[in-house]
Symmetry: C2
Subunit: 406 residues, 2 copies
């Protein structure tokens, strides 16, 4: 008998019929001899409807109250899912985040889990019940309702799996698992059977949005093995776990792409201490997330600094920079460019295999694709290219590293 | 400075605009120098939608889960109402039943309040906040969500007002108060300024459905003065309170009518002990609520027993009785009649004024209306008449006791 945590996202529980499908799967898992905790999200569309309602009564809804409001979405799903299981002959009980002992800090709408006391969950499991747990929510020490922000239900599942020492955590979603690349771009992409936490993190931060990084980081920190799989079929998915020696034999695990990027270049920046801090301090102060930063060595006492960011954030970045750049001297100029995209190859095998970057650049050169910026980490090589060429680039690199399905 | 509990029903908070209206009224009450707790119901329609959802995933939804599901209705309203008040410049915080310390027994879908610990509410009021409290819900000692059943939000308001020793409890609804009779039947009906708990209880049990009896009983038990008033205007409503000596000067406070009644008569019942228990034990065993019971003295060793009940319950009653009556002997027969209605006059003044029943019967006789059954309590006289004549009867009796508006 294993203890299994399952998580079903908003699409998987989006209609009463889909809830019944999930209920059947959950019950079958128990009937196969396991203890089951199922974490569910709000039915797809519900959260947006609630946000619409809030905007109809308030120009700037209080965050504490937003949490009280949004938490009803998951509370609705847990009740319906438990009812559905009971109707199928099972014995299920629902628990809100608060009832399940999920304690968070007080940062409403994006709270962090600080502790989980799974006593009530354990008691119900031991009584033979299936536990249906509301994702995305918890409560503060003073019993205020909080929500965990984007990707919160994944986090609930992984954190509960860690706290209760589950044998496996299954993240059910609407894709079959993690792919070597987005199959809509690279038709030859294959489902990855096993991937390390670090690779998954690099893939997530490189545009492969199967899961939010924070959930993967949490899983890595607490050693929670989890599987990403499809709620609409019975195929095994992708297992995400601590790296094993065997994993290194694959040089590149996957290729990620991220579109809608923009690049800002600041020219003729004086090469003296404190300059970067003026620039990136202003950017951070405006809550703009930037990605790749490149700075060349100085010539003639000045240098150029470039960085990429989401194209949607470009106007805000330009405004902020135009206010601070005069501090750096008269000659400093700024130019920007949108219509670029980022391509990354990720794999822990890079640590022991040299020449990955060179092979990637060569594959792109063969296609006549110009590389604009380069950034690397221990297990990743990322380049920016013109957005119009990103799909061609992805296919070429995917083939180069032997990832195409046979 | 007074401490005021207000309650807004589902119609009063039925749309975002109406929530904003309530928010304005709540904030104005605080700005007039008072501390305010506002109890809100689910937006009208929401509870039925949730029940529909439940029925789509389950033939017989688990009652525990039904409570988890339905409680989201009020939780949505408290968040929206608090946001709306904050948007208007006030400081409001929402509380679920559990957060507000409302403890109930474990009878899901119709729980009873066993205790209220208003510490959190008190703390927020003392910090200058307006408290928006979810009606209709509480939690058990083991932190399970419960709902209070029909009229639950009124009960929440009255119970909280009692527990926190509020100066006044205002029940906002879609009528101006309690009337001497239903104005759709008796156009001359007037709003009653003050009414005693006992009169209100008799009115409620006689068909005047402004509030459920259980809330009035609770108010009486704990001496909570409350006012029934309209959320759509600023007119004073009806004050419900312990009787005062002055109240007795009015002989009849109001006239109630209840339609869709049926009558069952059992003839030639042997006049011996245990007979009633067979009949009414069977009726109670089938969960049928009966109203007036009349039994005449026996002649020739047999008697007739009649009782009234809701016409909708008549087929069930006939079935149950046909099974048990043979136990009482061969001669016993049953007949039934629907299409009857009940008319009641209620007033604590009856205790000190004689002849109320005679005046009522006289007024009905003058109209040629036949009285079928009579039942009386210390402060009520009720008769059943043909349903076709109930409106004429109500108007005649309303005039007889001087209740018509001048």
């Amino acid at each position: 008998m294993a203890l299994i945590v399952q998580k079903y996202g908003g699409t998987s529980v989006g209609t009463p019929e889909r809830i019944l499908n999930c209920a059947r799967r959950i019950l079958e898992t128990q009937q196969a001899g396991h203890q089951v905790i199922a974490v569910v999200s709000a039915m797809s569309g519900v959260t947006n409807n609630l946000i619409d309602l809030a905007n109809q009564v308030s120009k700037d809804p209080t965050e504490r109250e937003m949490d009280v409001l949004l938490a009803t979405g998951e509370q609705t799903t847990i009740a319906l899912t438990a009812m559905a299981i009971n109707d199928l002959g099972g014995q299920a009980v629902s628990l809100t985040g608060a009832q399940a002992g999920i304690s968070t800090d007080r940062v409403h709408t994006k709270a962090r889990i600080v502790n989980i006391t799974p006593d009530a969950v354990r008691r119900m499991l031991d009584a033979g019940k299936i536990v249906i747990l509301a994702g995305f929510q918890g409560e503060t020490a003073s019993h205020e309702i909080t929500t965990l922000g984007r990707g919160g239900s994944d986090l609930t599942a992984i954190a509960m799996a860690g706290a209760i020492k589950a044998d496996l955590c299954q993240i059910f979603t609407d894709v079959n698992g993690v792919y070597t690349c987005d199959p809509r771009v690279v038709p030859a992409a294959q489902k990855i059977e096993e991937i390390s936490y670090d690779e998954m993190l690099e893939m997530a931060s490189s545009g492969s949005k199967v899961m939010q990084s924070r959930s993967v980081e949490f899983a890595k920190k607490f050693g929670v093995v989890f599987e990403v799989r499809n709620s609409m079929n019975d195929q095994p998915g992708t297992l995400v776990k601590e790296e094993t020696p065997g994993m290194e034999s694959v040089v590149v695990r996957g290729v990620s792409l991220e579109r809608n990027q923009a690049k800002v270049t600041i020219d003729d920046v004086p090469d003296r201490p404190g300059v970067s801090s003026v620039i990136f301090g202003a950017i951070a102060g405006a809550n703009i997330v930037i990605d790749v930063i490149v700075q060349n060595v100085a010539t003639d006492g000045t240098t150029d600094i470039s960085f990429t960011l989401s194209a949607a954030e470009l106007p805000k970045a330009e405004k902020v920079l135009s206010e601070v750049l005069p501090q750096l001297g008269d000659k400093v100029t700024m130019r920007s460019e949108s219509g670029i995209a980022k391509l990354s190859v990720v794999g822990i095998g890079m640590r022991s295999h040299s020449g990955v970057a060179a092979r990637m650049f060569g594959a792109l050169a063969k296609q006549g694709i110009n590389i604009q910026m380069i950034s690397t980490s221990e297990i990743k090589v990322a380049v920016t290219v013109a957005e119009a060429q990103i799909e061609q680039a992805a296919r070429a690199v995917h083939t180069e590293f032997g990832l195409d399905a046979v």
